[in-house]
Amino acid sequence: MSDSYDQISQQLKSRHRKSTRLKYMSMGALALAGAFLLIFFADMLSKGLPAFKQAMINIEINYTEDAASNGRAAVDQDLSTIISRSVVRVIPLEMRNDPSLLGTTVQRWVLASANVDQYLKGNPVRGLDDEEKARIDRLVEDGRVEMQFNAGFFSRGDSKMPELAGIMSAVVGTVMTMIVTLGIAFPIGVMTAVYLEEFAPDNKLTQLIEININNLAAIPSILFGLLGLAIFINFFGVPRSTPLVGGMTLALMTLPVIIISTRTALRSVPESIRHAAFGVGCSRWQVVKDHVLPLAMPGIMTGSIIGLAQAMGETAPLIIVGMVAFIPDVTASFTQAATVMPAQVFTWSGEPSRAFVEKTAGGIIVLLAVLISLNAAAVLLRKKFERRW
């Protein structure tokens, strides 16, 4: 005997309740995740955005005889404690490079000290007494002290003076490291995946290799650092702390990501395309080169960009190969000491001075902006080249 309509709707009621409950639970999970993300961004932006502003003071610089040996002599004694030490330090150098400056006076915006900067940003400051604070307030009223856009943050390297510290050397170091990483990991990864997917026979050996590659993707990244130290630095003698060794180490880490995403992309190319190509007499390599790879390329690029973004945010393996270092000058070659953005953030986070807190957050904002644009590029690439067949 079949159930009556009423019996069926009775059962249905509890089933509908269950699905409703599940729906609300999923929505709750999403809301929670969203809230955390929001809190994270709000905190980071509130701490980090001030780093893009910097207090500047408009002062008079007198290039006198005394100033040639002692830069402090060039500026008003009352102001010498509230301008950045870096300003007075470079005055003798300026005069040596350009002797015609002697005897002239220049009115110029210069960096204020980190204490002034922090005071104006409303943060607690220990290094200023009440008299100095009053003087700063007066200068602000006169329009001689201003918050200006901190262009130096993007154009200078690291410094022990927070007002002078910038992220440029880390950005250049990151770019050079990523060039090495991609230059090594992309061709090797893609060729490996092509071999495994299109040429290799399916036997115990290739299955073993496949399992190992999948495991490699899950290895803690610091182990790759140890491997880099042992093999690249100690065995092959690659200079430490350089974009070369950092890039090679990160390439080891990125390789499995690129291999796995390339294999997935190759697998998503329909078999009918391969049959069509074989059917007109393509050799196996022609099938891959002319038909499969072009179709898989968007997927391969997406995977590679994501792997690259992952490598870009990596710090642990780079600590081991010596890339977490104090690098005040922008690196000019692949074999010079360099640092990368996350390492720079790590270095700043360990600085005791209050002014470095906002540098840390500012560095994170720059890093995240780069990573988000990379991921956006990956999404756009996929959308643009996506094909239906």
Partner: protein, 279 residues
């Protein structure tokens, strides 16, 4: 090749129940000779001692119920089965006196001479022009741009597609309708001037009007090419094929000229299948 004919007649007389030569009197040139062909997928035997002679410039239809091995046999003729790792093949497939399965036979050279059209239209996701021009260029049949254009036009005309696509040669091949895509695949296959064209249920994914167009096309193309087609549709076999082979459970039960096979089948199995008792 004509020297083979008397020998075959002798074999035909002796091989009762497994006729593999035609028994009409018309004289056609032999294209492909198959002897004792066995094929295994892993441990399962899919083809069981096949013997058949396929003739030039004719349409031969392979019919039979699903899973009878007709598509598998078709793929033996251009070694597409090589792509399946578990396949093992024994026996002789001979084309122009050469063993197709011999180690020194290059499958690329073979597929240059034996083109293939698949069940589902599968144009390359490239332009219509590129779909046709790709293979001839790859095989160095044409090099100059002008030659390419000539050849593309000829192939598309032969495939009966030229008038429909001449104004949009640079649009993607996948933008065409299903029947047009299948004719594009035929143009792609004939562009390299093969001797044989294999068709694996070429109309099963198409509507009746497109099917009729393809059938007309096969009738025209057999003047230039040897066409071997697999079909599920017995009316189609009766309409287009000069010869028909009936497959059952990996064996060729009956092979004859189409008219005889359909009007006067020699075996009970073929008769039952043709009259729709199973299949």
């Amino acid at each position: 090749m004509n020297s083979q004919v008397p020998e075959m007649s002798k074999q035909q007389a002796s091989a009762v129940g497994q006729p593999f030569t035609r028994n009409d009197d018309a004289c056609h040139d032999l294209s492909i000779r198959v002897r004792d062909l066995n094929l295994w997928y892993g441990k399962a035997q899919a083809l069981n001692g096949l013997n058949i002679d396929l003739y030039q410039k004719n349409v031969t239809a392979l019919i039979g119920p699903s899973g009878c091995g007709k598509s598998t046999f078709l793929r033996c003729l251009n070694r597409m089965n090589d792509l399946i790792p578990s396949v093992r093949i024994e026996g002789l497939v001979e084309m122009d006196g050469r063993d197709v399965n011999a180690a020194k036979m290059d499958e690329v050279a073979l597929r240059r001479r034996v083109g293939m059209v698949f069940q589902k239209p599968n144009p390359f996701p490239k332009s219509i022009f590129e779909n046709v021009a790709y293979a001839p260029r790859m095989h160095d049949i044409v090099s100059r741009k002008g030659e390419q254009e000539e050849l593309v036009e000829k192939a598309l005309r032969d495939a009966g597609l030229w008038n429909e696509v001449k104004d949009k040669l640079h649009e993607p091949g996948t933008s065409l309708s299903g029947g047009q895509q299948q004719r594009l695949c035929i143009a792609r296959a004939i562009a390299v001037q093969p001797d044989v064209i294999l068709m694996d249920e070429p109309t099963s994914a198409l509507d009746p009007i497109s099917t009729a167009t393809i059938e007309d096309l096969m009738d025209k193309l057999k003047k230039q090419f040897t066409i071997i087609t697999v079909t599920h549709n017995m009316q189609q076999a009766a309409r287009v094929a000069d010869y028909t082979a009936f497959f059952h459970l990996g064996e060729i039960i009956e092979y004859n000229d189409t008219k005889t096979l359909f009007s006067n089948p020699a075996t009970k199995k073929a008769e039952d299948y043709i009259t729709g008792r199973y299949g």
